[in-house]
Amino acid sequence: MRSRVVSTSALLIGFSFLYIPILSMVVFSFNNSRLVTVWDAQNSPTLKWYYELFSNEQILGAAWLSIRIAAMTASIAVVLGTLAGLVLARFGPFKGRTLLSGMTTAPLVMPEVITGLSMLLLFISMEQLLGWPKGRGVLTITIAHVTFAMAYVTVIVQSQLAGFDDSLEEAAMDLGARPAKVFFRITLPLILPAIASGWLLSFTLSWDDLVISQFVAGPGSSTLPMVIFSKMRLGVSPDVNALATILVLFVAMGVVGGSLWMHRLEKRRARESQLAASDL
């Protein structure tokens, strides 16, 4: 009984800590006053900051750029991360395996300033040596984002694969399927949820990244976080609240929808395996 009270209050305190700041942003996005935190009761709620947001070309352009970079990053990171996860979980020992597993876990904790600095210096050296990449911009941001996002995909895919034993894959091999066919027909469908969440996570990591982008961006390639950060340094402005509200709405719908989909997928899989078992 007493432990129940402790648990409930821990969750209550923790979740209010997590959600009160977000709620306050949502509430104040409808506030009329330019002073972000003083509630103007007479003229609120109002949608004027939303109008202002959607007429701000700079923010809209940066948001579109960020979406494009994030989509490219997620798609490349998913391919590379899935391969790395597959190699680490299924290929057994090989020369250099420790280095590979080190290079896929270190980016998870590496401070962003170090990654950003080292990436920029790499790009500059490469430009001097090879003449590629020319200058800095969307391409260099994408490469940098892929490098740290693929580490997350690797961990997700690897842990998903570690959860399945490889008897299905072995059975397919025994029946004469070539490795590529085994991967596309057996392994890939099994880890599809992991790949999907890896894609979404990579997208978010890239969309959210400020520090690394600041290092490797060039003129004319300001991502959305860079624009918001420079706005925030000049002082708070309420249209950022409106932007945050829209984002929270999107993410909430996406996350809830995504998890419902995963839930259904898992249920169907459980039912199918039950059916398969009863056929025997």
Binding site: I22, T37, T105, M110, P225
Partner: protein, 334 residues
């Protein structure tokens, strides 16, 4: 030149000077027929290993070597703003100019040592606070019914998917001297004059704990969820009180989760740059900010590189511990 025969197209390009020096070097050093070698030997498995491997070598490992190299070179006003380490000194002679000046400079100016110490302290305290808030939450989530469990986990992850920058921004609105917290406290009559919370250590702790809390809760939850409940029941049957059971059974078992969570917060927090520059003190910088200032404002790339290398040396031990735990966790599931 033996390779000319095998790569006529490349050697023509080489002669016309349309190849960069690195490619020219590779071309000279490469074994004959290496493309044939790659085509015949790098099939299937090797190719699958090679793709992520080469990407990470080129874009993760090599950059550190470059940072390391530049930390030994001298700053100069040019683009790029550092002197090359290797210089062709006349005929076939390479002069290496190794310069320890940047590291000596870090030792002579107090700014760097105090910033390192301050960053480590802030990161350690934040990690501890995260643990104090996150452990009870992870424990409560692991002990709830399966349906509630997935709802709670969703609620933990959800803020993480919204923008990190906007979440820090939200705290500016709350903590300002005319912000929400001060307004509420004054309206309730708890305080008469607003408390200064922005640009203090307190604000930085809040910012870091808030941003990194999911990274603490998730590994702790993953650990606590696996615990065998019969152990707790056995301890209770043998007459241990709940608190004693927790301290003697649950807490020791969850140790790997605690270490993983603490490191996931501590290591990135040491180099944190955005949170302290938005919420933190102006008189005491964290090392991430010092690095960024050296790089962007002073344009002293060699010193910035030396700062980065020192930070890496400081973090290498925790990173390796994290790596060990992470790979043990992933191998153990099989």
């Amino acid at each position: 030149m033996s390779n000319d025969r095998h790569y006529p197209a490349l050697s023509a390009r080489l002669a016309s000077g349309r190849v960069g020096p690195l490619w020219a070097l590779l071309f000279r050093l490469a074994p004959p027929r290496w493309s044939e070698y790659v085509l015949t030997h790098w099939t299937g498995k090797k190719l699958v290993i090679a793709m992520p491997y080469l990407w990470l070598l080129l874009f993760f490992l090599v950059p550190f070597l470059i940072v390391f190299k530049i930390s030994f070179s001298e700053a100069r006003i040019a683009m790029p703003p550092y002197a090359p380490l290797l210089e062709w000194a006349g005929n076939q002679v390479v002069a290496i100019k190794l310069n320890m000046g940047n590291y000596a400079f870090l030792l002579t100016d107090d700014l760097y040592a105090t910033s390192y110490l301050y960053s480590v302290r802030v990161a350690a305290i934040s990690a501890l606070l995260c643990l104090l808030i996150g452990y009870p939450m992870a424990y409560a989530i692991a002990r709830s019914t399966p349906t509630w469990r997935s709802v709670f986990l969703l609620l933990v992850i959800l803020p993480f998917w919204t923008s990190f920058l906007l979440r820090v921004y939200a705290w500016i609105g709350l903590l300002k001297s005319n912000g929400v917290i001060n307004n509420v406290l004054m309206a309730l009559g708890v305080i008469d004059t607003p408390i200064t919370m922005m640009q203090t250590d307190f604000a930085v702790y809040i910012g870091i704990v808030y941003s990194y809390l999911p990274f603490m809760i998730l590994p702790l939850y993953a650990n606590l969820e696996k615990h065998d409940q019969t152990l707790v029941e056995a301890a209770a049957d043998l007459g241990a009180r709940p608190l004693k059971t927790f301290l003697r059974v649950t807490l020791p078992l969850s140790f790997p989760g605690i270490v993983a969570g603490v490191l996931l917060v501590f290591i990135p927090a040491v180099g944190e740059y955005v949170i302290p520059s938005l919420l933190g003190r102006a008189d005491q910088l964290m090392i991430g900010r010092v690095l960024a200032d050296e790089f962007f404002s002073n344009r002293d790339w060699p010193v910035a590189s030396a700062v980065a290398i020192c930070m890496l040396i400081l973090l290498v031990a925790p990173i390796m511990v994290f790596q060990r735990i992470q790979s043990r966790e992933l191998e153990a599931r099989r």
